[in-house]
Subunit: 355 residues, 2 copies
């Protein structure tokens, strides 16, 4: 059926919406390594917070600026509360950044490949994207990044879907010289071998054009709750507060996310387990003749000379294992890091396929 | 402290953000009649749905197009599923409507007074608002509403903060003649004496420029969960689906809202109780010398000759009763309908004040 776009604005009419990874029906037989979810449960304190929700929580408006959650993040990361913003997933924060700091017709700087949501958000705001190709080893070509002519640059670190980590030193030099706002999307930072020294968080007090975004989805195992957060100079946070919907975060997510950040050790333990499995998985891939991009995230981008990756992808799906295949990276598969047991079954099926 | 707006876009820099009603700390002594929350709890099925949330719900991405909730709404309202949209509160849906169907510089038609959020959303999108004054008795002057030159018209029905209901017949003639999209915001429709015949819902199959928005906040007692929904021609819903964030509604809200809509009778019983208390309250106001605007919503806009409403507002607040005072409607107070007991205490304090 052809859908009439008679009333759509010209931005929407030209948009190709973001394609989320396939979400199969819940099935204990199925191994889901396609959307970078955490294979481990969230802190028991999160479930307890959800259990404690009562009818008054439901009935009354939630705090408009997420007081308890914001305070918990401020304490957990040792930053002033006015440098903290919370959103309905970091997706909402990324969208709000465009709606607050760019105008239609302005330009956004991206590296390519990176997170495929960014150009979709730009298109929705009528912002043009310019994509600078990564080096052949997927490193950011810092020397050839432009410094002016852009309202905003979005850089995921570690990058997705490669998992490559850029050094904060190189990023700082870029931020210092860039005329617009630099968004460092640290969705996967907790999976790095050294999260604290890999993060740009400490730079927010130094640069008023830097926004560091984070999410509760990945390391905190809370994709389902839609909670993202960001750190920036209070002048940027004030802009986001002005443009956001009055009550952008429901009370349950606020309460559960605060419980998660108050149990940071639990998250770190899960992230360490993912890191360990990632190291083992890299070795297994190499033993089977794959190249794995050196990832610091909870996924591996892999390829194998002479193997048709789309065919392997379909084979795995037919054997109840979901991974991600991107048509614009046809030589690669992206495999999220699951539990050790899930990875065992994944590699057994890959071996079957190759045999 | 002066906040630098150096990086803000020109829409954000000019915005005055929406002012939500004061949300005091939870206190059993306090009577909260200031933000039109429902005084009765949501269906027990909602609390049960929240209790049933497990760690896999938290860990995995939620359905991107809210399959179960959308189906429940489709069934509950007997409309095709492709005419249903769900959002993070109806606020998000109203914002998305502007971002999907208007361009900066275009115009939005409003009546005045109406819901004060609309011009804030317009400003965020760079859309100009034109406000047509209501008649002296707060009725919409349908004969003087323009038919062209506007991308969109937002009309709450019943209106807020007056509670006045416009007839669907008059609204239909306006929709039929209007060149842009008409949004009928039915946040309060369930509190009408005759919700079904007062709603414009049946018109969505007839007019491809009509969007009817609803919320779970008011009649379903779920302000805290941030769930809104909308009905429209599939061509408009497809536009909203294109522009929305991938996962705009967390899994708990999806599940809890589906439970609420599946227990429609519970909501109707609560709405009937609010209606009954509203009727009693109107009489009490009249006995005390107040004029009450004839409201079909869960609030009453009242005034009293010779009484300083701001002073009464402050007096009530000092006695732990919160109502709403709007500086642009200085002769009035807006009082949400509470339980009978809460209204008794409210009227007792008003009598004290007047004595």
């Amino acid at each position: 059926m052809t859908i009439s776009k008679k009333y759509w604005n010209s931005f929407a009419a030209k948009m190709n919406p973001y394609t989320p990874g396939f979400q199969p029906e819940a099935d204990p037989q199925l191994i889901k390594l396609n959307t970078n979810e955490n294979p481990y449960p969230p802190s028991p304190a999160v479930l307890q917070a959800i259990q404690n929700i009562n009818s008054d929580h439901c009935r009354l408006y939630p705090p408009a600026v997420w007081d308890d959650l914001r305070q918990a993040i401020s304490t957990g990361y040792a930053v002033p509360v006015e440098t903290v913003f919370c959103g309905n997933g970091s997706d909402e924060i990324l969208s709000l950044i465009l709606r607050t700091f760019t105008m239609p017709g302005e330009r956004m700087l991206l590296v390519d490949p990176s997170y495929s949501l960014y150009p979709v958000l730009a298109a929705a705001s009528g912002v043009q994207t310019v994509k600078i190709p990564l080096d052949t080893d997927f490193q950011i070509p810092f020397n050839s990044l432009p410094q002016s002519g852009y309202s905003v640059a979005f850089i995921p670190n570690p990058n997705a879907p490669t998992g490559i980590l850029a050094s904060p030193g190189k990023l700082e030099r870029f931020i210092a010289g860039f005329a617009g706002i630099v968004v460092i999307d640290e969705a996967y930072i907790d999976f790095c071998d050294h999260p604290d020294s890999s993060s740009c968080l400490s730079l927010i007090s130094k640069y008023d054009n830097l926004i560091v975004t984070r999410t509760f989805s990945k390391s905190f195992s809370l994709c389902g709750l839609r909670a993202g957060y960001a750190f920036a100079d209070p002048s940027l946070i004030a802009g986001l507060l002005t443009v956001k919907d009055s009550y952008n975060l429901n009370i349950i997510t606020q309460t559960a996310a605060a419980a998660a950040v108050n149990d940071m050790l639990y998250m770190k333990k899960n992230a360490a387990a993912v890191r360990k499995t990632r190291q083992t998985a890299v070795k297994r891939f190499q033993q089977l003749g794959f190249d794995a991009v050196p990832s610091q995230a909870n996924f591996l981008l892999v390829r194998r000379s002479g193997t048709d990756m789309e065919d392997l992808y379909n084979y795995l799906m037919n054997h109840s294992i979901h991974v991600r295949y991107f048509s614009d990276l046809p030589d690669y598969l992206r495999v999220s890091i699951g539990t050790d047991l899930q990875m065992e079954r994944f590699f057994a099926e890959v071996e079957h396929y190759l045999a």
